[in-house]
């Protein structure tokens, strides 16, 4: 589903990704952990070209992202993204946030898009907030709307960049629950998060990144209970 070969990313002279190789299978849930500044977000953002890789190759369903003939806007419809700070559109209400892209990008009729949006809102437990504006929602509610917004494009892959780290503790669960449901339904997910409970419950694989490299990967069990790399051990001892 996703294949990354020898991926490098520089910001000016700063080398942030130093040769990443990985493969994510269909339906797999991959959790990325690692210290701040290790390049987790940058890696994730290379997967939908919010950052342009400096060199290397990224394939999404066999399509090479670096090929200039690849239609980036088309590709992004298949790859949903959820951000740490939600990034809801503040001038649009909840339903408009969700239906805008389906209507404008995929050409769905407003009615069709609205029906689908209501289904999604039901699924994330926010049907009663359809007409609210983002500013009227709590953090957890905002993030659930953001997930619904991404799902409205029927993506094949979902990327999450620390979806719960801007939330108050009591709201983390409601967002993780939605993500767990999604994982159990077979969505292919790449999630940057330090929520170990989530990783253990639905994660198939945990990747530890440090200084732009993947230092270790394995099942949640292996990584959390029997980390091999001293850097992984050191990192886990700090966050646990």
């Amino acid at each position: 589903m996703i294949e990354v070969r020898n991926l490098y990313k520089n910001f000016g002279r700063l080398e942030v990704l130093k040769g990443i190789n990985n493969k994510v299978e269909k339906g797999e849930v991959v959790v990325i952990i690692g210290p701040s500044g290790s390049g987790k977000s940058t890696f994730l953002r290379c997967l939908n070209l919010l950052e342009e890789p400096t060199r290397g190759e990224v394939y999404i369903e066999g399509k090479n992202l670096m090929d200039p003939r690849t239609d980036v806007n088309k590709l992004r419809q298949d790859v949903g993204m959820v951000f740490q700070h939600f990034n809801l559109f503040p001038h649009k209400n909840v339903i408009e946030n969700i239906t805008l892209a389906p209507i404008k990008v995929r050409g769905e009729s407003p009615q069709q898009a609205r029906e689908r949006a209501m289904q999604l809102l039901n699924r994330v437990g926010l049907a009663d907030k359809a007409d609210s504006f983002p500013s009227q929602l709590s953090g957890g509610q905002k993030q659930r709307v953001a997930i619904a917004r991404a799902l409205a494009m029927n993506p094949k892959i979902m990327l999450f960049d620390e979806p719960t780290s801007a939330l108050d503790p009591e709201m983390i669960k409601e967002v993780l629950d939605v993500m767990k449901d999604l994982a159990r339904e077979g969505m292919t997910m790449v999630v940057v998060t330090h929520e170990m409970g989530f990783a253990r419950e639905v994660g198939d694989r945990v990747i530890f990144m440090d200084e732009g490299r993947i230092l270790e990967e394995g099942t949640p069990e292996d990584i959390y209970n029997r980390p091999q790399n001293p850097r992984t051990k050191d990192f886990l001892s700090k966050i646990l």
Partner: protein, 219 residues
Amino acid sequence: MNLDFSIIKPYFNIFLLGAFVTVKITALAVLMGIVIGLFVGMGKLSRFWFIRMLCSTYVEVIRGTPLLVQIFIFYFGLPQILGVNIPEYPAAVMALGINSGGYVAEIIRGGILAVEKGQMEAARSLGMSHSQAMRYIILPQAFKKMIPPLGNEFVTLLKNSSLATTIGFSELTRAGQIVAANTYKPFEPYITVAAFYLVMTIGFSRLLGILERRLAVSD
């Protein structure tokens, strides 16, 4: 002191008409400025250095030279090159509009930059093209931030439009000149002109304040 404001009374309609013309050319010029400013302001954020340079040059030239000189170039200078005279009315509106474009460009650029970076990223991640993201997500939010400075620009231009008097265009200040010449009394007519400007600028600022408060509520 022999002030006598009753001499104004017979000419009141001239002032009123002048004020109307002033508001009209200001509104037209600001509209023109917004259209120019939208392109130039976005052009300054372009990916292409050539477009960026072109738009920056426009802004530098407009903001770095006196409006009066710009008006003269338009009204007196251009006919020499084009071979046709430009009547005062279009000359005044165009000179003011092109001038305003330079200032509005900066307002628009500032408004776009003030929209959080994550908004563009969220829009693009949903598959929107750059121009769709601009149109549906960035610009609507940017415009909200631009309303106060655009209001200021309108007030500035309203006052600056008095410079159009120098090419003989009949607006509010010109009305004062005419009345002063007819009555041989300059003080009262010019005070009246000033009062008209003041009422318009204060009135407009108030309206703007109400609009801003309305918009703030919807945030």
